[in-house]
């Protein structure tokens, strides 16, 4: 493994999704030294994840071109796992480790899907909705496969349309929200013509696929692989044979790194001021970690954070009005796709909740906090470090997850030893 390579940046951005790319580009416009680091090999984040077969959208391409034109240093395939002290982050790739020094930091770590446990959810081919889309973008053959799409959130429709366009047979889309809440949500979009247009396009692409509201997955069945799913509306149930179940319950923000850095969290989101700066001076946050709001909000927040990190406050202020419009959309999203209480009852006593350590629902019931459950059952102590079961137990048991310990990503032993060495060094000498 290569040894640590030190890199210093005026502005460092963690996360190369729309928010991070916008932040890096705007910060780099005035000639300062900007770096952007992402766990994925390519820039683009979730929505602009590049597929081998198709070209990226115009928007994605123009931001990626700007990164190049502004000579932003792109560190792909590297995840940040610790901050030994303020101003220094440690990142690791499959064969390298980097010490990243920064003056100002922009956290644009995005979001992941929320998964909820139900009987059979650990069977192979039960996969996240965005997860299946990502696999298909990475050449998983989907033509002719029978797929049930279930869960909640606008992502379900986007994924169903994508899979259908690639030849999948979408048997059903099950949205847990009620028809009435969706109608209210749609009405709230009337002030956002772009969203309505996207909605109309989606409904045309999805024409003919049964779309059920107030319905959800009760169980997945199969021996070694998924063979069928049972869907329910509470009163009626139906079992459907299928090859894949694409199932996700909207998004949860990736706030482990912000928490580690001491950023204030409220209601599960990173708190920022007008300039997207957190309570930690010089540390900014943009995109999904400050509130799930989609690509437009991520782009405008990213730009504000990048401009502010480069001390271009007046230009950042020009974007405040635009941001407010998209924040309204974020708030209606939050209301519309709230999880119904019935979903708390899906897991049986023997349903696995923590997939890394195979901890069952009944084992967790005696505990009153995430911390005590972790210590006593090892729930959340596996390699995903609670990224999957933490968001589930937050909903199932109302446990709050407000602490993060390094490493925020599983790091190799050599890297952890390097952290210890750095922590023992005189800060002046770390270079």
């Amino acid at each position: 493994m290569a040894s640590s390579t030190p890199d210093g940046f005026d502005v460092l951005v963690v996360g190369a999704g729309p928010a991070g790319m916008a932040a890096a580009v705007r910060a780099a416009e005035c000639g300062i030294c900007v770096g952007i680091v992402d766990d994925n090999a390519a820039v683009g984040g979730q929505i602009w994840r590049k597929s081998a077969e198709e070209d990226v959208t115009e928007d994605a391409k123009s931001w990626a071109d700007c990164l190049k034109a502004r000579q932003v240093t792109v560190l792909g395939g590297m995840h940040v796992f610790d901050q030994p002290e303020p101003g220094i982050l440690l990142a690791e790739s499959s064969d390298n480790r980097s010490v990243l020094h920064y003056e100002k930091l922009v956290l644009a770590t995005g979001a992941r899907e929320r998964f909820l446990p139900f009987p059979g959810w650990t069977l192979p081919n039960v996969i996240g909705a965005g997860g299946l889309q990502a696999m298909v973008k990475c050449r998983l053959p989907i033509r002719g496969k029978r797929v049930v799409v279930a869960g909640t959130g606008p992502l379900l429709l986007a994924v169903a349309a994508y899979l259908k366009a690639h030849g999948a047979e979408i048997l059903k889309i099950c949205e847990q929200a009620s028809w009435l809440t969706l109608l209210r949500f749609a009405t709230s979009l009337l002030t956002q013509p772009a969203k309505i247009w996207q909605g109309i396009q989606l409904s045309q692409q999805l024409g003919g696929i049964p779309f059920l509201t107030s319905s959800w997955v009760a169980a997945a069945h199969g021996d070694k692989m998924l063979e069928a799913v049972t869907i329910t509306s509470g009163s009626e149930t139906e079992t459907i044979d299928c090859d894949y179940l694409a199932c996700g319950f909207h998004l949860v923000p990736n706030i482990e790194l912000p928490i580690l850095l001491g950023c204030e969290i409220s209601d599960g989101f990173v708190q920022v001021n007008d300039l997207q700066e957190t309570n930690v001076s010089g540390v900014f946050c943009a995109g999904e970690p400050t509130g799930i709001g989609g690509v437009e909000l991520a782009l405008v927040e990213g730009q504000i954070a990048g401009l502010a990190a480069a001390s271009r406050i007046a230009e950042a202020r020009h974007l405040f009005g635009k941001r407010e419009g998209f924040r309204r959309f974020a708030r209606s999203l939050q209301r519309a796709f709230r999880l119904r209480p019935e979903l708390r009852m899906l897991a049986g006593p023997e349903t696995i909740v923590c997939r890394c350590e195979d901890v069952m629902y009944a084992q967790l019931c005696p505990y009153t906090s995430w911390r005590s459950a972790k210590l006593q059952t090892r729930c959340g102590m596996g390699p995903c470090q609670g990224r999957v079961c933490g968001a589930a137990t937050e909903f199932l048991f109302n446990w709050s997850l407000d602490s993060a310990r390094p490493p925020v990503f599983p790091a190799r032993v050599e890297s952890l030893v390097a952290v210890r060495d750095i922590k023992q060094q005189d800060p002046q000498k770390i270079s």
Partner: protein, 81 residues
Amino acid sequence: MRNEIALKVNGTHIVVPPGATVAVAVALAGQVCRKSASGAPRGPLCGMGICFECRVAINGQPHCRSCQAFCEEGMDVRTNG
């Protein structure tokens, strides 16, 4: 550009299109990625590097997330399924 990549999954030769991840190669080979702590078969869940359910050994290096690793010519992939 080459239009196929040849690699091995558990010793069996398999050919994938460029841009395929190791997770896709494992699926095409009809294998599952790993066995859980209690011995149940597991495959990818998040598809984006978060859940670690897709762990396999690549060229002898264990615990690689197969959804984040792209296939390369001559790769040796071992599942624990």
